[in-house]
């Protein structure tokens, strides 16, 4: 789960990482109020979970009261990479002479968290990695020991960072590690971390991603959760513990297992169409869950055929068949539904489904995909 900049900065402030004075605003009036409290100049920053906000016009410097209405209106009425802006962070503008990047991110191949420092902050770290790799230094952190001060010093030294900044860098890094570790973050970054004329460090922008697997023990985030990236159907699927991702195609699919669900999507494409969704009903799915999954697929108006591919392991095909049978009478839409059952209790499942002639059965995955694509072409939307 990704956090907004203002949320990340609240955590930074809690751990003593210097951040500019700021306040949130939902309207131009609120923005003016915040600005008068913290004093001009201020920076207005769109709070959307998207990179490249500056280039998209989501960040503006405002020098006085006369400019703030039009500037905040402009941002609040805009979309950034398709996401409507609903909230602004109004923040005291900071004068600075230098920009760093400081972050901690889990590295999959090393299986370690990695501390990253760059003397070329203010741009995306991936871009720096491509264009000026000599400006980035990294070090793995032993998760059993935690981040050590010498690790921070070694990065600062290799990058030739001014010695007066080493101590504040150590302090900020230690605070970042504490947040990373305590909050089950998978990524936390300050970019830029700027040097003020007084030679102190201030976090101007912040990003945090929390490991979804850890949300059960990081309950404060469940309230903060911003579902902006999810469609309403995706949110409903989550209520049934279904893994559903909406896509652009027209063949809805329901599969048990994530890898097989992706393979089924790929087969649909190979058969000449595109998948409307990814949907993994998980292991041991019950009749109820199958019914919920089918109704969720059919909510997508683009769907012109449904492909159900179940390879029974923990999941029993007869359970799935019962779930489907129970759902059929209540279905709002008369679309072709192709079912392919294999593995545990497949024969029992197929027998149950034979009583429902509107369900088309297939023996193999690829033939099921071909039938679904062919049948979908007979359907008028």
């Amino acid at each position: 789960m990704k956090l907004h900049e203002y949320q990340a900065k609240q955590f930074f402030a809690r751990e003593g990482i210097p951040v500019p004075k700021s306040g949130l605003a939902n309207t131009p009036n609120e923005a003016r109020q915040v600005a008068s409290e913290i004093g001009y100049p201020v920076v207005l920053k769109a709070q959307v979970l998207s990179g490249g906000r500056g280039k998209a016009g989501g960040i503006r410097l405002v020098k006085n009261d006369s400019e703030i209405d039009s500037a905040s209106n402009l941002i609040l009425n805009s979309e950034i990479h398709g996401i409507p802006v609903q909230r602004l962070l109004v923040e005291k503008a900071v004068i600075f002479s230098q920009e760093f990047y400081l972050g901690i991110v889990n590295n999959r191949s090393l299986a370690k968290p990695v501390l990253i420092l760059s003397s070329s902050g203010g741009v995306e770290i991936e871009v720096v990695a491509r264009t000026k790799p000599e400006k980035i230094e990294k070090a793995a952190i032993n998760p059993l020991l935690g981040l050590q001060n010498f690790t921070v010093r070694s990065l600062a030294s290799r990058l030739g960072v001014d010695y007066v900044l080493w101590k504040p860098l150590q302090q900020i890094s230690a605070a970042l590690w504490k947040l990373f570790d305590h909050l089950d973050a998978s990524l936390i970054e300050i970019n830029p971390l700027v040097v003020t004329p007084e030679r102190s460090l201030v976090a101007l922008d912040g990003k945090m991603t929390i490991d979804d697997n850890a949300l059960y023990r990081q309950k404060e985030f469940l309230e903060l959760a911003d579902q902006a990236v999810e469609t309403p159907t995706e949110q409903e699927a989550r209520k049934f513990s279904l893994n559903y991702v909406q896509l652009d195609g027209n063949i809805g699919c329901m599969v048990n297992g994530a890898g097989l669900a992706m393979a089924t999507m790929d087969c649909i494409q190979q058969a000449g169409s595109e998948p409307a969704n990814f949907l993994d009903i998980g292991g041991g799915a019950t009749a109820d869950k199958v019914a919920a999954a089918l109704s969720i697929i059919l909510k997508d108006p683009k769907v012109t055929a449904v492909l159900i591919n179940i390879f029974g392991g923990i999941t029993r095909c007869d359970e799935v068949a019962k779930g489907l049978a129970a759902t059929l009478p209540g279905l709002q839409r008369e679309l072709p539904i192709v079912v392919r059952l294999a593995g545990t209790n497949a024969e029992e499942g197929k027998k149950i489904l034979q009583q429902y002639p509107r369900l088309l059965q297939a023996d193999t995955l690829m033939s099921a995909a071909e039938i679904a694509v062919r049948e979908s072409r007979q359907v008028r939307v």
Binding site: R108, N213, A258, G259, E274, G313, A342, G343, L365
Partner: protein
Amino acid sequence: MSILLNEEARILVQGITGREGLYHSQRMHAYAKNVVAGTSPGHGGEWVLGDKVPVFDTVQDAKDSTQADTSVIFVPAFAAADAILESIQAEMRLIVCISEGIPIKDMLKIRTLLEQSETRLIGPNSPGILSPGKAKAGIIPDSIAIPGRVGVVSRSGTLTYEVVQALKSAGVGVSTCVGIGGDPIVGTSFVECLDMFESDPHTDQIILIGEIGGNEEELAAEFIMNQVTKPVYAYIAGRTAPENRRMGHAGAIIEGSTGSARSKVETLLRAGVQLFSYPEEIAEIIRI
């Protein structure tokens, strides 16, 4: 022969009194008669599987009494890291973690501990290991495979079953089928499994089943190019997956330029691997 698991394995099931733990213990025991113990805190002293298999409170007690050497974990996500650590502490030879949803932080600590341990971990979020005709540790349906000389390694569960059943329908048998797990951080990598298959005199060919996310397949390709002499076939799932969306498995996500199916397919092709484009196609292209 086989890799990781053979007829000598003595299996201990952590979480044996739970619904899934008990069901799959029955299946494993029916297959190879090698489930020797189970654990379930508070259930020590009970017996399961027709009163033939003793239940203990702790892994150490179970190991001391039964010489179990392989742990198979079926506990809820919040207890799974603890269960793995308990088996590492008891110096089990092999741990197979079926449970999914372990926080990454816990897995990073476990991986760091494993560096100094003799224990091997498969998973988490793994369907387990099946050495047909010998033993199974996990949930892979045993009816889908026949004994043979093809090694299978995969990041998925049911997708692997598709491939293995397609092999069976073509009369092709399997030496060992290993699911390394769908999480971003797992105990054993593709490369380690390829290395074991390459050294196994009873494996002639290898099938690798990968998916989007991370760079495990790219590392596997490099290893295959330099170290593997046996023919390798591969399938990569997720050609139609969008960027930056997690596809069910915590590890299945394309992040920026990392983890796309195209990159994996191209790298494997360059390493001389024969790709198949849908699961059942393996039956048509494999040469025995």
